[in-house]
C-alpha cells in the first residue's frame, strides 16, 4: 500500500522534475546540434507524457480528436518543423521561438498517448511510417549535404545528427512494431464448416 502511494507520487512528480532539468540544462543541451535535436526535443515529448497527471482535457475535447487524427497530424507537422535546421537555429537566437519549441513539444507529449490509444492500428501505421520516413530522409540529407545547414553548429555535428536521426527513425519504427506485435499475429480460425473444396 505504502509502496503503491510512493510510486504514484513518484509518477506525479517525475514530469515537473524532468521539466526543471530540461530548463536548467538548456545551455549545454543546445550547445550542439545532436544534443539539441536528439536529446532535448525527444525529452520534451517524454516530459509532456509525464506531465499528464497535472493536465485535464476540457470536457468534450475528445470529440475533436476521433482516432487521434488531429493529434497525430500535429505530431507529423511538429516533428517536420523542428527538423528544419533553420527552425532549430531560430530557437537558439529568439526566446519566443524557444518558448514555442517547449510549448509545442510538451503539448504534443501530453496528447500523444491518448491519441495513440484511440487510433486504429492502420491510422497509427500511417503516421508512424510517415514520421519515421521523414526523419530518416532528413537524417540522410544532413549527412549528404556538403554545406552547413545551421550557422551555429559545426559540420561534424551536423553529420552526427544526421546519422542519429536515421538511427532514431529505425528505433521508433521497430519499437512501434514490437509494441503492436499482437496485431500482426494471425487471427484465430473462425469456427465454420469444414473446407470441402478439396485439394
Amino acid at each position: 500500500m505504502r509502496l503503491h502511494e510512493h510510486r504514484a507520487r513518484l509518477a506525479r512528480w517525475s514530469g515537473p522534475a524532468l521539466l526543471a532539468v530540461l530548463l536548467a540544462t538548456r545551455a549545454p543541451l543546445e550547445a550542439t546540434m545532436w544534443r539539441h535535436m536528439l536529446v532535448q526535443l525527444p525529452l520534451l515529448v517524454v516530459c509532456g507524457i509525464l506531465l499528464r497527471p497535472w493536465l485535464r482535457l476540457p470536457r468534450g475535447a475528445l470529440r475533436w480528436d476521433a482516432q487521434g487524427l488531429a493529434t497525430l497530424a500535429a505530431a507529423a507537422f511538429a516533428t517536420t518543423y523542428w527538423m528544419i535546421p533553420r527552425a532549430l537555429e531560430q530557437a537558439l537566437d529568439e526566446p519566443l521561438a524557444n518558448a514555442m519549441k517547449f510549448a509545442s513539444l510538451l503539448l504534443l507529449g501530453a496528447l500523444l498517448p491518448g491519441a495513440l490509444r484511440r487510433a486504429h492500428i492502420v491510422v497509427q501505421l500511417f503516421f508512424v511510417a510517415n514520421i519515421c520516413a521523414m526523419m530518416a530522409l532528413a537524417g540522410m540529407l544532413y549527412r549528404e549535404l556538403p554545406q552547413r545547414l545551421c550557422n551555429a553548429y559545426l559540420q561534424d555535428d551536423q553529420d552526427l545528427t544526421g546519422s542519429w536521426l536515421v538511427g532514431l527513425a529505425l528505433v521508433l519504427g521497430v519499437a512501434w512494431c514490437i509494441a503492436n506485435a499482437r496485431h500482426f499475429a494471425d487471427p484465430p480460425e473462425p469456427p465454420g464448416p469444414p473446407d470441402r473444396s478439396g485439394g
Binding site: A66, Q67, A70, F77, A78, T80, I84, Q90, N151
Partner: protein
C-alpha cells in the same frame, strides 16, 4: 452522448485547423518554402531588406583607423566584403586563393575603379602585423584588395550580427563560419550574399551593380 457524426465533423475541423497551422508554421520556418538552412534564409532576407553597415572602426593592415561606413562611402566603389581569420587552415584558405584570383580578374578587366575587395578579420588576435603578413602572403594589391581588423570587440560583434555571420570555435584553435561574398553598395548597404564557392558569380554581380549606378 455525442453522435459519431458530430464527432467526425469536429475531428475534420480540428485536422483542417492543424493542417492550416502546420503549413503556416512550415511556411514561416522555411522563409516561404525557399530555405531550410539559416544561411539560405539570411541570403534571401538581405536581398529583400538590405542591411546598413553598423558603426565599426577598422584598423587596416597599414595601421591607420577609419570608420567602415566612411571607408565604403568615400571610396565610391562596389565592395565585395569577406570575413576571415588569418590563421585559418580550411575555408578561408580556399577563400583567400579565390580572392587572389578575383584580384587578378579585376586588374585584368580594368575594373579596379568599379569594384574592390574588402576582407575583415573576426579574430581579435589578428593585429596589423598579422594582417600585413596575410596580405603579403596573398599578394594583395592595396588598390584592389584591403584587409582590416576591428579592434573593438563590441563593434566587431555588431558588424557580424548585422551581416549574419556566425563564428563558432572549432577544435584545434580553428573557427567555423559561414563564409560568403558580401556585396556592399556605394551607400554602404549589404545588398546581396553569394556563396564562397561562386567567386565568378560574385564578381559578375558586383560589376553588374557597378554598371547600374554608373
Amino acid at each position: 452522448m455525442n453522435s459519431p457524426r458530430s464527432s467526425s465533423r469536429a475531428t475534420l475541423c480540428a485536422v483542417l485547423a492543424v493542417l492550416l497551422a502546420g503549413t503556416g508554421a512550415l511556411y514561416y520556418g522555411s522563409s516561404g518554402f525557399r530555405a531550410i538552412s539559416t544561411e539560405g534564409a539570411r541570403r534571401i532576407a538581405v536581398v529583400e531588406r538590405p542591411v546598413p553597415v553598423p558603426l565599426a572602426r577598422l584598423a587596416g593592415a597599414d595601421g591607420h583607423a577609419t570608420l567602415l561606413a566612411d571607408e565604403l562611402a568615400r571610396d565610391g566603389r562596389i565592395a565585395l566584403v569577406t570575413f576571415i581569420y588569418a590563421r585559418c587552415q580550411s575555408v578561408c584558405r580556399v577563400l583567400g586563393t579565390e580572392l587572389q584570383q578575383m584580384q587578378e580578374q579585376i586588374q585584368a578587366r580594368g575594373a579596379a575603379g568599379k569594384v574592390r575587395l574588402v576582407t575583415i578579420s573576426f579574430d581579435p588576435r589578428d593585429d596589423a602585423r598579422a594582417l600585413g603578413q596575410y596580405g603579403r602572403m596573398m599578394k594583395s594589391d592595396p588598390g584592389v584588395w584591403r584587409l582590416y581588423g576591428i579592434p573593438d570587440a563590441g563593434e566587431r560583434q555588431a558588424l557580424l550580427d548585422a551581416f549574419g555571420v556566425i563564428v563558432v570555435p572549432a577544435p584545434l584553435g580553428e573557427f567555423e563560419h559561414n563564409a560568403a561574398f558580401h556585396l556592399v553598395d556605394r551607400s554602404g548597404r549589404l545588398v546581396r550574399i553569394l556563396d564562397y564557392t561562386e567567386p565568378d558569380a560574385a564578381l559578375a554581380a558586383a560589376l553588374a551593380r557597378a554598371a547600374e549606378g554608373a
